[in-house]
């Protein structure tokens, strides 16, 4: 059997190589019976050359091999295809674990090539600089870069993912990429002269670059190791380097010889002390913070704040606002709130004399068609809101806190406790409290008799809580 010549496009002709490999494997050509050459046609334009082999059966290779091939074909070493084919051949002929043996000379060589391509990609991601072409709303940007290997197409995803809403072009000596916010086009080589002039942002960048350099740590060789001179041409800031280095020595000498400066400012001990106290001090301040803050749960169009007088004898803490509460911006105005109001009246509690609030300040829901389905907050979400609840209760200072349901108990104690067992008087980390069910539970009890019973127990609880608030020492009675 003679030698089989395979001709691929110039650059990284991944498709051509794939097709060729299928055919060669189907025809059982060993690596030393193949000669790989490129014919000067840029592969960038022609995904369909080398038709032969297009219908040969695909071969399956380990994932790691596919990644290796994709990257190594970008390498400019003319031997790349021969080396890759030798590797594929061995993988398919009894050495399926070949890529695990990093010490194998062929694998080691390919790994070095892959590393070199990866480094080139990384440097292109890092050192490419866009310049702005148009100033109108429709921003357009252009960059010029000279990669070491044929990585232009391999790099496209990175730039698309990152600069998706910009229109841009990347020009290189071997081809170009153009993104119009929807499609990516591969084009002919570009010219560096097509690059627009630098502008105010580049000037700002130079300012930044110079200011962030610490002359006391000058270390040009470390810089050069990571940013070799061949990349400097793309980067406007690099022409500052010689001056920065030249001046570094004298800048440091001045620093070191400057005697410690006595303070010109008087000691603002009072300002510092005041600062420490400067947390929110009124309920209005706290409410302003809550109202301005982002919901920590999904849903919630606005924060529903607590309501009622300061220093009440009772404060009620519910779970979270519901649909009605979210619409009206007030706590306990929905169906559960109405039950609560009725029960309070029956227990002899003046609703207007109580403070009403929720553990979670936003309505958490999932849209289901036109409806908004209530979703219980997670323990973590409850804890997010705890800082506010804690502060709120500090400021409101009720005689007794009635926790309505499990979420409220969790917010007040930090622990998940069973309501039925905890029901009754309770100490919330030093605050006098009482645990009972959430009124919405009463809505859900299915059979009428049980519902009446649950409601009566709820009224009884409220009356007991009110009595406890009036006479805290009666707790044990």
């Amino acid at each position: 059997m003679g030698v089989t010549p395979v001709t691929l496009g110039e650059g990284a002709d991944l498709d051509g190589f794939r097709r060729a490999v299928r055919r060669l494997i189907a025809e059982a050509r060993p690596p030393d019976a193949v000669v790989w050459q490129t014919d000067g046609t840029p592969s960038l334009f022609d995904g369909n050359r080398g038709e032969a082999g297009a219908d040969a059966p695909p071969i399956s290779l380990p994932r790691a091999a596919a990644d290796l091939i994709r990257l190594v074909v970008c390498h400019r070493d003319p031997e790349r295809y021969a080396l890759l084919y030798a590797c594929v051949w061995r993988l398919l002929h009894g050495e399926g674990a070949l890529l695990d043996i990093a010490s194998d000379p062929l694998v080691a060589r390919l790994a070095l090539m892959e590393k070199s391509v990866r480094r080139d990609l990384h440097k292109m991601h890092a050192f490419l600089r866009f310049r702005r072409v148009t100033d109108d709303e429709d921003e357009r940007y252009v960059a010029w870069f000279e990669p070491e290997h044929d990585i232009l197409e391999e790099t496209a995803d990175f730039f698309v993912d990152r600069f998706r809403r910009m229109t841009w072009s990347i020009l290189t000596p071997t081809g170009s990429l153009h993104w119009d916010r929807e499609t990516l086009t591969v084009g002919p080589p570009g010219e560096k002269s097509a690059l627009p002039a630098t502008g105010a942002v580049e000037a700002g960048w130079s300012t930044y670059y110079a200011s962030t350099f610490n002359p006391a740590r000058a270390n040009p060789s470390a810089m050069l190791r990571e940013m070799p001179k061949k990349y400097w041409a793309n980067m406007p800031e690099t022409n500052l380097i010689p001056d920065l280095l030249r001046a570094a020595g004298s800048r440091v000498e001045t620093l070191m010889s400057n005697a410690p400066a006595p303070s010109r400012k008087k000691d603002p001990a009072k300002a510092v002390a005041r600062m420490r106290e400067d947390h929110v001090r009124t309920l209005a301040d706290l409410n302003a913070v809550i109202a301005a803050a982002e919901p920590f749960v999904t849903g919630g169009t606005r924060a529903v704040l607590g309501e009622g007088p300061l220093k009440p004898s009772l404060a009620f803490v519910g779970e979270q606002p519901g649909d009605q509460e979210d619409v009206q911006g007030r706590p306990f105005v929905g169906p559960a709130g109405q039950i609560l109001a009725r029960a309070m009246a029956e227990a002899g509690i003046d609703r207007d004399a109580c403070y009403l609030t929720n553990a979670v300040k936003h309505f958490k829901f999932e849209p289901r068609g036109k409806r908004r389905l209530h979703k219980s907050p997670t323990a973590g979400e409850v804890r997010h809101y705890r800082w506010w609840l804690d502060k709120e209760l500090d400021l409101v200072a009720p005689k007794l806190i009635v926790a309505l349901g499990a979420t409220a108990v969790q917010a007040l104690t930090g622990k998940a406790l069973p309501i039925i067992k905890t029901r009754g008087p309770f100490d919330f980390n030093g605050r006098a409290g009482f645990v009972t069910v959430h009124p919405s539970y009463l809505l859900r009890v299915p059979d009428e008799a049980a519902k009446r019973e649950a409601y009566a127990a709820f009224v009884e609880d409220l009356a007991a809580a009110a009595a406890l608030a009036r006479n805290p020492t009666a707790r044990s009675a």
């Binding site: 674990a97 695990d100 043996i101 990093a102 010490s103 194998d104 890092a126 050192f127 600089r129 702005r132 940007y141 993912d161 990152r162 600069f163 998706r164 809403r165 910009m166 580049e202 700002g204 300012t207 930044y208 670059y209 200011s211 962030t212 350099f213 610490n214 740590r217 000058a218 270390n219 040009p220 060789s221 470390a222 810089m223 190791r225 990571e226 800031e237 380097i241 920065l244 620093l255 070191m256 400057n258 410690p260 400066a261 303070s263 400012k265 603002p268 300002a271 600062m275 420490r276 400067d278 929110v280 913070v289 803050a293 982002e294 997670t378 973590g380 979400e381 804890r383 800082w387 506010w388």
Partner: protein, 400 residues
């Protein structure tokens, strides 16, 4: 003041913070009308002549500060020029640089002005504006003020990829001497809260500082030894699962406080601390093991801590590349974690010779005295008195 003048002042003021990396964020792509992505690994977009990378726009919101920390150029008693950015200015700078591919994102810190809450709120608002109004999906690192209200930190965690609280000095004594207004207890409590929030958010798949928390420790501003520093770091890694502790050799600053030593520590010290820290996090070394190789609890400046440990524990070597457990291979000078992984994978299929190992590491010469391969035995070499001289790099010309 012109924005460029502010930039000069507020970048200069931020350059002493070593936490510049953009790594650790979950991979993200820009939405259709958004801008920016994160790669997980972080990208350095330039290197300054001090050899450090520029990955993020690292600036202060303001360098006015109520506090008077001796090591800090921004302390209230320093006579440096002052400036402050508005929220919108920082946002505009970040977007302008980002669109030109100059940065991976923003690292924003601030002096403490007016109050801790006021300052923290401004920081948070920058991040919120970038994310909410500009669909910015690049990296954001916010420095948090430990004294700030917890709910502000909660909000910050919604927008930032990483939050950090600087410890600055490894011991409570050092802190109270050099940073009179700061409190070691407050700082550590804040770190504890942060840790709890991060853990919880991960468990519930909620967004809160997904790239975790980090801190910075200043080296050489007080009498703390390397062992003190590593003990502090080790504690932070264990208790609060910090992602990184950054070490920043105290740098001469203009108008230095009289409380500081007149000279900065050698930069090599910072470098050795990073190496030792690496051994703690990735090579299962303990602080005690590292400390046992040091004199007066200071790391050897001439050789790296792993080599120092191996020279001190020659009895444990040489080990056989083809049979030694992975944990021991990791302790061989010159073999990095990646080389060790490759060795472990390869030896399942083949028996390694010296030339094979040499293909897997660039520093086989350093590893050789500690290794046995199919065709290589160091023999008496491991015990030679001049081994240190033979394996130590001739002279540390430039570090970092």
């Amino acid at each position: 003041m012109e924005i460029l003048d502010k930039l000069a002042v507020l970048a200069d003021a931020a350059k002493y913070d070593a936490s510049c990396a953009s790594s650790g964020a979950p991979k993200r792509k820009a939405a259709a009308d958004g801008l920016g992505s994160t790669t997980g690994a972080g990208i350095c977009h330039a290197y300054t002549p001090d050899g450090r990378c520029v990955s993020l726009l690292k600036i202060l919101l303001t360098n006015y500060c109520l506090f008077d920390c001796a090591y800090c150029i921004n302390r209230r008693s320093s006579n440096v020029p002052r400036a402050r950015f508005t929220v919108d200015e920082v946002v505009a700078l970040t977007l302008g640089f980002y669109k030109r591919n100059m940065i991976e994102g923003l690292f924003l810190s601030s002096g403490i002005v007016r109050s801790a809450d006021h300052t923290m709120e401004q920081l948070m608002r920058v991040a919120k504006t970038l994310r909410r109004e500009h669909g910015f999906a690049g990296y954001i690192h916010l420095k948090t003020i430990p004294e700030a209200s917890p709910w502000l930190i909660e909000q910050a965690g919604l927008w930032a990829d990483r939050l950090s609280i600087n410890l600055e000095l490894p011991t409570a004594a050092g802190l109270s001497r050099l940073a009179p207004e700061k409190s070691d207890t407050t700082i550590r409590e804040a770190m504890g809260h942060m840790h709890a929030r991060i853990t919880e958010a991960r468990a519930e798949r909620r967004r809160f500082s997904p790239a975790g928390q980090s801190t910075q420790v200043i080296v050489g501003a007080d009498a703390a030894t390397d062992t003190d520093i590593l003990t502090a770091s080790d504690g932070l890694y264990r208790r609060f699962k910090l992602n990184r502790v950054y070490y920043s050799a105290f740098s001469p600053i203009d108008h230095a406080s009289g409380l500081l030593p007149p000279k900065p520590p050698p930069l090599a010290r910072e470098h050795r601390l990073y190496q030792a820290d690496w051994l703690l996090r990735h090579y299962a070394f303990s602080v005690d093991e590292i400390a046992s190789t040091s004199a007066d609890n200071m790391l050897d400046l001439d050789i790296d801590p792993k080599l120092a440990w191996a020279l001190k524990n020659r009895g444990a070597f040489p080990i056989d590349v083809n049979t030694a457990p992975k944990e021991m291979l990791l302790r061989v000078p010159g073999l990095g974690a990646r080389a060790v992984d490759k060795i472990v994978a390869a030896r399942r299929h083949t028996t390694l010779r010296a030339a094979d190992v040499a293909r897997l590491t660039v520093s086989f010469r350093r590893a050789a005295p500690f290794l046995i391969t199919l065709d290589h035995r160091p023999g008496a070499l491991t015990d030679r008195a001049d081994l240190r001289a033979r394996v130590a790099p001739p002279k540390q010309l430039s570090l970092l």
